[in-house]
């Protein structure tokens, strides 16, 4: 297979995901409305309750709205990653997943393309959210908008890979509600998206430990630091390791010879 074949495949999968996204405008708006409600209503209400002290990467006291913005960007990526998982299960039920899996390129590459396509859409949503937040006086340095791109890509890939892995477990679309209750909400709330970790530590050490090992916490911190032109090596390393584990497990899950799909359906006689 030539390099151009690989590139055309990636391009085709991204275009398809983009077209589906355009056809489902409701998905775009709901993806935006969710974090905006948190920003406009929740953050405004909690501004006076939750004071934020000076913690890196911030160099001064900040409003609560400013603190939760990276967490809400992470929320977009998290929901999109899970949406990709939903879309994979849907594709499998509708059969279009078969078309992808019987094409001649290696399965790991096809799944990575699918992942990148989902992340491209999520990054677009994240930038639209940041643009709207700018009008809400959430104004990181201009360079931060550029520096955050690789952070969004990395965090999006990690969360998308988790979605991909989950989709290899989920047999039917109806089972997806469980993902909402057992993955999205715990990951979001047990993280540094809404409150800094030191506040959580003050409240509960076990919860602090859970938050510290939650990959979403580190995805949010990578985004937070990048948005203010800073770099958090520990969080980045954590996200990279999580990405490798999730993607590796997802590829294993979709491998016809070894994966979870085979265990559910059957195997050699």
């Amino acid at each position: 297979m030539s390099a151009s074949h690989y590139f055309r495949c990636l391009y085709g999968i991204i275009v398809r995901e983009g077209l589906r996204f355009v056809n489902q405008r409701g998905r775009f708006f709901s993806a935006l409305v969710r974090p905006l409600v948190w920003l406009f209503i929740f953050a405004a209400g909690f501004r006076s309750v939750l004071g934020i002290s000076i913690i890196p990467p911030y160099e001064t006291y900040i409003l609560y709205e400013e603190y939760i913005t990276p967490g809400l960007v992470g929320m977009i990526l998290l929901f999109n990653g899970m949406q990709s998982s939903l879309s994979m299960v849907y594709d499998r039920e509708m059969g279009s997943m078969r078309v992808l899996l019987v094409s001649p390129l290696p399965r790991w590459y096809l799944l990575t393309c699918k992942l990148l396509a989902g992340v491209s859409v999520a990054i677009l949503q994240a930038y639209v959210f940041l643009a709207i937040a700018w009008f809400w006086e959430i104004r990181p340095p201009l360079m931060g908008y550029i520096a955050v791109f690789p952070a969004l890509l990395l965090a999006g890939l990690m969360l998308g890979a988790l979605g991909l892995l989950l989709s290899s477990f989920i047999k039917q679309l109806e089972n997806f509600a469980g993902v909402m209750n057992f993955v999205i909400f715990p990951m979001f709330f047990a993280s540094s998206a809404l409150y800094p970790l030191w506040k959580i530590r003050d409240a509960s050490i076990p919860l602090f430990n859970v938050c510290s090992y939650n990959p979403f916490t580190h995805a949010v911190e990578v985004i937070r630091f990048a948005l203010y032109g800073d770099f958090n090596l520990y969080a980045t390393g954590f996200v990279v390791v999580a990405l490798i584990i999730f993607l590796g497990a997802a590829i294993f899950g979709y491998d016809p010879a070894r994966g979870l799909m085979v265990r559910k359906t059957g195997g050699p006689a």
Binding site: C9, V15, R20, Q24, G95, S96, R98, S103, T265, A269
Partner: protein
């Protein structure tokens, strides 16, 4: 693979001693069959005989280490890419993106097979014309009839010019006329373009005397051969009777 070599009725698909088990059920038991390029082979079996399982193995959606599958001489498990490149598939259940147009669906498939630019454009236009779909290229799939959708699936399956075409109960859900049109269209492609066709069905009226027949029942191949020869051997004059005799014997 040299084009001129392929045109000499080579083995497009060679399945040897293939077995596969679902939890609690042996779905395929030591199945062997072959499909030559330019021939129309019918895999005849009742529902649950193992036809779709066989297709899933031949397309590598499932995997097994019991038995061999070769496509145009390429081992499916050792040289997956080379083997899968040669296959076009129409699955039992529709696999088109309903929200995308015919053209967008075909473009997507072309990109998965590394076709791009003017080459993809030309092939798509020619496929649309050949399958009488030119007028529908801008229509979304969910606006098409069942027969038209099947033609789009067929056009898509042939876009990358495979040498082996697998159709798994491809006429399910079509009315009588659409079914007739569709099967005669596939037969024409088989004879004119030298594509090896494996057509699975449970409908005996889709079988013709010149076809190569493989009767599958409970995961086992009961009989294989040219239909005329099978009928003569069993001393019956139609495929329905032959099928009854074979499956009752079993």
């Amino acid at each position: 693979m040299n084009e001129s070599v392929v045109s000499e009725n080579l083995s497009a698909l060679e399945v040897s001693s293939l077995s596969f088990r679902f939890p609690g059920k042996l779905a395929l038991d030591n199945v062997s069959l072959s499909v030559l390029t330019g021939t129309f082979s019918v895999l005849l079996g009742a529902n649950g005989a193992g036809k779709t399982t066989l297709y899933s193995l031949v397309t590598r959606l499932y995997n097994t280490n019991q038995g061999d599958i070769k496509i145009l001489g390429h081992d499916l498990y050792r040289h997956s890419s080379q083997a899968l490149k040669q296959i076009g598939v129409v699955f039992q259940r529709p696999t088109l993106d309903l929200d995308l147009t015919v053209l967008q669906n075909l473009n997507y498939h072309a990109s998965l097979h590394g076709l791009g630019g003017s080459e993809a454009g030309q092939r798509i236009q020619s496929a649309l014309a050949r399958h009488d779909l030119s007028d529908f290229s801008g229509k979304k799939i969910n606006q098409l009839s069942g027969g038209q959708r099947r033609r789009v699936e067929l056009a898509r399956a042939l876009l990358h010019q495979p040498k082996l075409l697998l159709l798994d109960e491809a006429t399910v859900g079509l009315d009588i006329q659409s079914r007739k049109d569709f099967i005669s269209h596939v037969r024409k492609l088989c004879s004119e373009e030298g594509v090896g066709v494996l057509w699975s069905t449970h409908l005996v009226d889709e079988v013709q005397n010149s076809d190569h027949l493989v009767v599958l029942d409970n995961g086992k191949v009961l009989k294989a051969g040219v239909v005329g020869d099978v009928l003569a051997e069993l001393d019956v004059d139609n495929v329905g009777d032959a099928f009854s005799i074979l499956t009752n014997k079993h």
